[in-house]
Amino acid sequence: MAQPAISCRNVWKVFGPDPAAHVAALSAGGSGAAGHVVAVRDVTLDVTRGEMLVVMGLSGSGKSTLVRCLSRLIETTAGAIDIDGVEIGSLTEASLIALRREKMGMVFQSFGLLPHRTVLQNVAFPLEMRGMDRMARTARAREVLELVGLRSREDYFPRELSGGQQQRVGIARSLAIEPDIWFLDEPFSALDPLIRREMQDEFLRLKKQMDRTIVFITHDFDEALRLADRIAIMKDGAIVQCDSPDRIVLAPASDYVAKFTAGVDRSRVVHVGTFAMPLPPDAPPEGSPLPAGATLREIARSLVADPRPTIPVADTSGRLVGALDRNAALDLVLEARPA
């Protein structure tokens, strides 16, 4: 298997008077001294290249701390984090800065824009830090602003923009250096619901245009389902389940995860491909196949009209990949959960 873009092994982050001792005590099965707060608890996680991982959890579950450990904005207490095979905990300040200049971009919940700089100068800031000359960085900044649709506002100052526009600037800034790894820390949480929806669409459009590794933090489960390749659900600093959205709604690992999925229309999340059974080797079902990449909701109409008890499922190249149990699928579409 290819080397993962990000790889965490037993990462801990503890705040308090003696964090290291606390981690040692907890790892040994003890309870540790009082006065410590465990923000990240023994997280082991790989993110493959080009994947979009959404880290989901309620506020205080440690997701923001985790992403700050990944970007080494804060130091971990224990464990190791590799970015492209390099252990970032041991990097010197200079090589960490070089890594950030070359490979990382980050978007912040309350935008983190520089109030004294125009939109254009904000977007050009990472390029300026790299030492790019004025002409080149202005040209590149304009290009990225075009991408997020803010070309006409380039001379404005952040406080003259709406929240959604400010976050577009934040996104443009983080993309200016074309990072391999893109961190987004609750980028849309501070926005109104309507704008949030719009920004999510925008984000999906941007994501389609590029191929990079994305770690996206949110406390909104619907947002996670909408955007993710894989979702990691956090509780009290630990990851309780890390799986594809389909698997999360179909097979929640604990009651805690199940509570999140309870109100979700699962037919919009589950794809035909994942819901299908393996092909029976002796007698494959016949007739025209269903597309594996569609959600059950998308094929609901044909499912109702289809008389076959098992329906073949094919991937985009037309190869048969499984067979769909029509009744089970209909049950899920109609939200008739087996007791």
Binding site: Q109, S110, P115, M129, D155, S174
Partner: protein
């Protein structure tokens, strides 16, 4: 959060439960010491001679060592040399001092036009009229040279202070140790009276303008350090993180992310530096600084009220202008230019300014009146002012004489004698009792720690006279200011007006307050008291309004819905809730009063201030610093007591 609150309440409770017995005991001891002083050995009434520590000699020895053995003299002389060179340049440009670069003076009309333009750019027409008008007034009244002598020091001192303050503020922000060292020094520095700064400077640099400039720089640095520290602390964490993720190095982070984001606080610091500079420059006339202050001092000592009112107006106008301009600068937010604007319209203000300056310059070449300003060509409003003042004094003097006599005979002298009658042990015990009452044994120790050195310094009686003047003035200020504040908080409009008046009065250099009181009461104790009182009233009014205004409206509504009358709402709800803030006002009032008492010394008092002036004229560093520290300790003790009290009230309200 809840944990700390719980321990806090535990602390409050334990001090209130165990407290009464101890502090009441101390208070009774104090009373007994006072009443039974006939029976006491003299060593308990006044500190015995053998206990007086020669602080002044120690300080002098330390200074002598630093001056001669450590070679500090060379360093300070070099620094003063740099300052003097800058003063020469600005002096030449502003009022034609015969020094390099020998191109001045700049015609006054161009300076006035520039000030007006600056006002327009920062705050529109009204500020333009204020700023331009100030300089026109100065020129028309024939005070150009004095004003520019004062102004040129500010032009040199303020940037140096800002730079030093930025560096030290950043240092204090970077390193915990530096902050731990700088913070107490700032606390003392900000409560040392102005004169205490002057004496060491005179020792190291001598008398004259450069000493005035150096003392101005030293005096105005502390607020800049504080505001820089505050600004850097307030930069949102995400902005810093965004900078880090953009790959900024530490230096880039500081210079391009942190400091620019802290812009508003830093510029407020600049505003405070400028105002401190002005206050000090005016006072530096005592150490031979020429300019408005010196002029005012001479006129006041000669009791020439009319011309000193003219100078007073100039100083006030200058203060208000500098304050409003720098505050407008701090509050200004950048705005984007309209798209497609031409170069000319983007730089419209610069072009207009260049045009106006050229026009004024041309005019000055043609009409000498607009170039150089002579006292001889000045208008003067002094004669009518004198006439008016004489009429007014003739009109009110029966009243003021009566006030003076009653105050002196029935209030001030008995009060002063009573304080002087108290044995110092009584004061120590009473102070300890107060400390214990508000903050337990720790506060009692702190308070005694502040007041005991004063007893040991041998300046006890002088210090008690200062205490008496301050107490009398603050009491009177409270009697006037407190109701005024309550009245002012009545409606929003009134509050705005009173607040504006208070803020404006606070920007005046303290020296100004001497003019009307000398006019009304002559050179006397009552004049000192009146000046101190007027100045001490301002913070009380301000903070009373502030406190009453910040009471949550829901609380007031709840009281009204419970059927409380307005008087009941005020007495039972609004005042108690506003009390912590009002205490802060009294605290500031005491600080202001202490400063003012010392300044007022030159019209004749018998307290620490007068001795300080003697130390100044004899350039006795040790004595001067001991006296200055005595004043500072009185201030810090009052500060500690009132702030602890306010803190306790606040905590009680939070429960």
């Amino acid at each position: 959060m809840t944990d700390s609150a719980a321990t806090d309440t535990a602390v409050v409770r334990s001090t209130t439960e165990k407290g009464p017995r101890v502090w009441q005991g101390l208070l009774i001891a104090a009373v007994l010491l006072a009443v039974g002083q006939a029976l006491l050995p003299p060593g308990l009434i006044r500190p015995p001679d053998w206990a007086i520590l020669p602080f002044a000699d120690w300080i002098n020895a330390a200074f002598y060592y630093a001056q001669n053995e450590l070679g500090l003299m060379q360093v300070t002389r070099a620094f003063a040399g740099g300052v003097e060179w800058s003063l020469d340049v600005t002096g030449n440009l502003l009022y034609g001092r015969n020094r390099w670069p020998r191109i001045g003076p700049i015609p006054w009309s161009t300076v006035a036009v520039t000030a007006g333009m600056l006002g327009y750019a920062l705050g529109g027409w009204r500020l333009a009229a204020l700023a331009g008008g100030t300089f026109v007034w100065i020129a028309v009244m024939g005070q150009w040279r004095w004003s520019m002598e004062t102004f040129s020091v500010i032009v040199v001192a303020a940037p140096v202070s800002v730079f030093i303050g930025l560096c030290m503020g950043t240092l204090a922000w970077r390193s915990k140790t530096a902050e731990r060292i700088i913070n107490p020094i700032l606390n003392i520095a900000q409560s040392l009276p102005h004169f205490a700064y002057m004496i060491p400077v005179v020792v190291f640099i001598g008398l004259g303008p450069k000493a005035g400039a150096v003392v101005t720089i030293i005096f105005s640095v502390p607020p800049m350090i504080r505001m820089t520290l505050l600004g850097l602390r307030k930069v949102p964490e995400e902005v810093v993180e965004a900078g880090k993720m953009s790959g900024a190095t530490r230096w880039q982070l500081l210079t391009r992310v942190r400091l620019p984001t802290a812009r508003t606080e830093i510029l407020i610091g600049v505003n405070q530096v400028i105002m401190q500079c002005l206050a000090m420059v005016v006072l530096a006339s005592f150490i031979g600084m020429p300019g408005l202050g010196q002029r005012l001092l001479q006129l006041l000592q000669a009791l020439r009220i009319g011309p000193s009112v003219e100078i007073g107006i100039t100083i006030v106008l200058l203060a208000v202008t500098l304050d409003r301009l720098s505050r407008a600068w701090a509050m200004r937010q950048p705005a984007h230019p309209e798209p497609g604007e031409s170069w000319a319209s983007r730089n419209r203000l610069w072009l207009i300014w260049a045009g106006l300056v050229a026009a004024a310059f041309g005019l000055a070449q043609l009409v000498p009146y607009f170039h150089e300003d002579e006292r001889s060509q000045a208008l003067s409003i002094a004669p009518p002012i004198d006439a008016g003042v004489n009429w007014f004094i003739g009109f009110v003097s029966p009243v003021t004489d009566w006030i003076r006599r009653v105050l002196v005979v029935w209030v001030l002298i008995p009060f002063r004698d009573a304080i002087l009658w108290l044995p110092y042990t009584t004061v120590l015990a009473a102070v300890a009792a107060l400390g214990w009452a508000v903050g337990g044994w720790r506060s009692a120790l702190v308070c005694v720690g502040f007041i005991l050195p004063i007893a040991l310094s041998g300046w006890w009686d002088r210090a008690m006279i200062t205490v008496y003047t301050v107490l009398a003035a603050v009491t009177l200020a409270g009697i006037i200011g407190f109701p005024l504040g309550i009245w002012g908080a009545g409606t929003g409009r009134r509050a705005a007006v009173v607040r504006l008046v208070c803020e404006t009065m606070q920007t005046f250099p303290r020296f100004i307050y001497m003019i009307p009181v000398v006019m009304l009461f002559g050179v006397s104790d009552v004049a000192v008291l009146a000046a101190v009182m007027v100045f001490a009233t301002v913070p009380i009014v301000r903070y009373t309004i502030e406190g009453l205004d910040s009471v949550p409206p829901e609380t007031v509504e709840a009281a009204e819905m419970s059927g409380a009358t307005r008087r009941q709402v005020l007495g039972n709800v609004r005042l108690p809730l506003a009390m912590p803030t009002i205490l802060v006002g009294f605290n500031q009032s005491i600080m202001f009063a202490l400063f003012m008492v010392i300044i007022a010394a030159f019209i004749g008092t018998q307290d620490l201030g007068q001795e300080m002036q003697r130390a100044l004229s004899a350039t006795d560093v040790g004595k001067g610093l001991v006296l200055g520290l005595a004043v500072a300790f009185l201030g810090l003790m009052a500060d500690h007591l009132l702030m602890r009290w306010a803190e306790r009230l606040r905590q009680a309200q939070r429960l």
